[in-house]
């Protein structure tokens, strides 16, 4: 049998024949489907129009999240959320209600297992790839069909191998590594492909950081980002009482990659994406004297507990700069609770942060933290496209949560290594 990439292996195991190669178009069984309040009402409308299939056996593998606009800022969104809540409860589907967390974070905490095939109505569904799953985002109609038939169709993607040798140094994080990767690939450099991250630096990275890498694979246009499961994955699943969900899955030696990119982690410094594209990246040493008046630490890209610990370390006995808006959004209620128990919340509040409930928040401009005209935002999120944060007259820079915290203290883009 031909050597397989991770994507070929997982997709193959979800087909009738059990084996596929890049380029084939196949029907696959899905392990989880999910939607949320931003796409759910449209998806429910499509499900109700579709006679084929049934929701009868979907109770254990279909999840509706209310995470995009929480707590709801308008009566229209409250009505949308009521539609999602009622539909999921009436059909006995899993409901992850407002405050429980961002869909991708909760998927990684409670549901996705190595080797799974996951589809959801959100482009960052690929986050789950950090656990060794094949996970990809689609629109409401595709997921409506997947929820009723427990299957979807896919073209098996070619894979791009990102080999990362060495070790990330103090103050340099997974977010910096993915921004560096995006600067090489560009916003369509991996279009329709799978990005497979390998190498010593990836093996040494905890799942928290791996989820940050795979989360932003879509920013290079990729169908998914994916990382082999290993003892770090087992350790992560154990933290969420899911050790039994572990299985080892990795690419075969000799698998075929369309291309390979090598990055030396030892040489990497903090990276910044300048307005207005996540591939418009420079190392922090080349970004000087950029004044910032809003800092957002949040989104599905990070704000897992390890990020929060790093941020708290930077804010310990320090304050945000006067007049700067600092908004922190933990990625789930589980993360939030740990922030409370570990004293992180206290540190954040003492630093002057506005801490919001877990949700998508400031990232995409639907509620909260919408910038004023000419505001300059520094965000730990994934996108800085024009108008993304709710005001086309504002500009957004992207970087790691650590860089965001250091920036909040000084009021201009600042190297976090000065504070760690």
């Amino acid at each position: 049998m031909k050597s397989k990439t991770l994507s070929e292996k997982i997709i193959g195991s979800h087909t009738a024949t059990g084996e596929v190669s890049a380029g084939e178009v196949v029907i696959v069984k899905v392990d989880y489907t999910f939607s949320h309040d931003a796409a759910g009402p449209l998806l429910i409308n499509q499900i109700q129009k579709l006679n084929a299939g049934s929701l009868g056996d979907s109770k254990d593998w279909t999840i509706f999240f209310i995470d995009h606009a929480v707590p709801s800022p308008t009566k229209e969104l409250s009505n949308d959320q009521a539609t999602v809540r009622t539909f999921s409860m009436n059909n006995g589907l899993i409901l992850s209600d407002a405050g429980n967390g961002i869909c991708h974070q909760v998927m990684a905490e409670d549901y996705t297992s190595p080797g799974d095939l996951v589809v959801g109505t959100d482009s960052h569904t690929c986050t789950s790839g950090g656990l060794g799953a094949f996970a990809t985002g689609m629109g409401a109609t595709d997921i409506a069909v997947a929820m009723k038939l427990r299957k979807t169709w896919l073209r098996v993607p070619e894979s791009i191998k990102i080999s990362v040798d060495g070790k990330l140094t103090r103050g340099v994080f997974a977010k910096d590594l993915i921004l560096k990767t995006l600067s090489i690939l560009g916003t369509d450099g991996a279009a329709y492909k799978s990005i497979e991250f390998q190498g010593e630096a990836i093996e040494n990275l905890d799942v928290y950081g791996r989820l940050t890498l795979t989360n932003m694979a879509v920013e290079a246009g990729a169908k998914t980002g994916i990382i082999a499961s290993d003892k770090k994955t087992l350790q992560y699943l154990r933290e969420f009482d899911r050790a039994e969900d572990f299985r080892e899955i990795k690419a075969d030696d000799g698998a075929t990659y369309e291309s390979e990119i090598s990055i030396d982690a030892n040489e990497l410094e903090p990276q910044i994406a300048l307005p207005s594209s996540p591939d418009n990246v420079k190392p922090i040493s080349e970004v000087t004297e950029v004044k910032v008046n809003e800092v957002f630490i949040g989104s599905c890209t990070n704000t897992r507990i390890e990020d929060m610990r790093t941020v708290a370390q930077i804010f310990k006995d320090r304050q945000k700069t006067k007049g700067l808006k600092l908004i922190v959004t933990p990625s789930s209620s589980k993360v939030y609770l740990r922030c409370v128990k570990e004293g992180i919340l206290e540190t954040l509040l003492a630093a002057g942060a506005l801490v919001t409930p877990a949700g998508c928040g400031v990232c995409f401009g639907a509620l909260g933290g919408i910038p004023a005209d000419n505001d300059v935002i520094f965000s730990s999120s994934n996108r800085n496209f024009p108008g993304r944060t709710g005001n086309p007259k504002a500009q957004t820079y992207l970087g790691s949560p650590a860089t965001a915290a250091a920036t909040a203290i000084t009021g201009q883009i600042t190297d976090p290594r000065d504070f760690l």
Binding site: V25, V26, I27, A38, A39, P41, L42, Q46, K49, L50, N51, A52, G53, H68, A69, P73, T74, E76, L77, N79, D80, T83, T121, D122, S123, T125, G137, M138, G139, A140, T141, D142, A144, V145, L149, K151, T152, W153, R155, T187, D188, A191, Y192, G221, K223, S277, F364, G365, A366, I370, R383, F385, P386, G387, R388, G390, N391, P392
Partner: protein, 164 residues
């Protein structure tokens, strides 16, 4: 039937096609459609006419999976979106709702050029420049879904999801 080209730059994101700040309008598509692409071209939503074409460059529709992005373009009566390349999810969403998304080199198309699309023969005629642009057939599955008018109708036809 001719339509006018509305030319857009490379890398138009779904945040520009249907921004998140209008999320409250997502269950009210006619209202949401009034903001289609307004951040990229403020004259577009009020002046586009049924039968017109949205003409992108590279990587049209990058970013989020919001299906409202192709839906509001379709709702304004746009005949098809032409682009040199599409972001994956936007392309799939467009076909799934029956909006033709055509991969063709758009460099020679100018803003306001008069275009005629012949989907069956894989040709776009530019009446303004007197050029004929030829585009390759889309994949068999995509073509079959588009021919039924979208994914729901395609699935209903067979009572199942089958490959074309």
């Amino acid at each position: 039937m001719t339509g006018r080209a509305w030319k857009f730059k490379d890398n138009i994101s779904t945040d520009e096609i249907s921004p998140g700040r209008f999320m409250s309008l997502r269950s009210n598509l006619p209202e949401l459609a009034k903001h289609t692409l307004e951040d990229a071209r403020s004259d577009f939503p009020s002046n586009v006419r049924p039968g017109d074409f949205v003409v992108g460059g590279r990587n049209f529709g990058m970013g989020s999976s919001r299906e409202q992005a192709p839906l509001v373009i379709k709702m304004l009566g746009v005949r098809a979106v032409l682009a040199s390349s599409f972001a994956r999810i936007f392309y799939r969403n467009a076909i799934n709702i029956g909006l033709p998304a055509i991969v063709v080199d758009t460099a020679s198309i100018g803003d306001s050029d008069e275009l005629v699309l012949d989907l069956a023969r894989g040709k776009v005629q530019n009446l303004t420049t007197n050029q004929e642009l030829v585009f390759p057939k889309m994949s068999k599955t995509m073509e079959a879904i588009l021919n039924e008018g979208g994914l729901l109708a395609y699935v209903e036809k067979y009572g199942d999801l089958l490959l074309a």
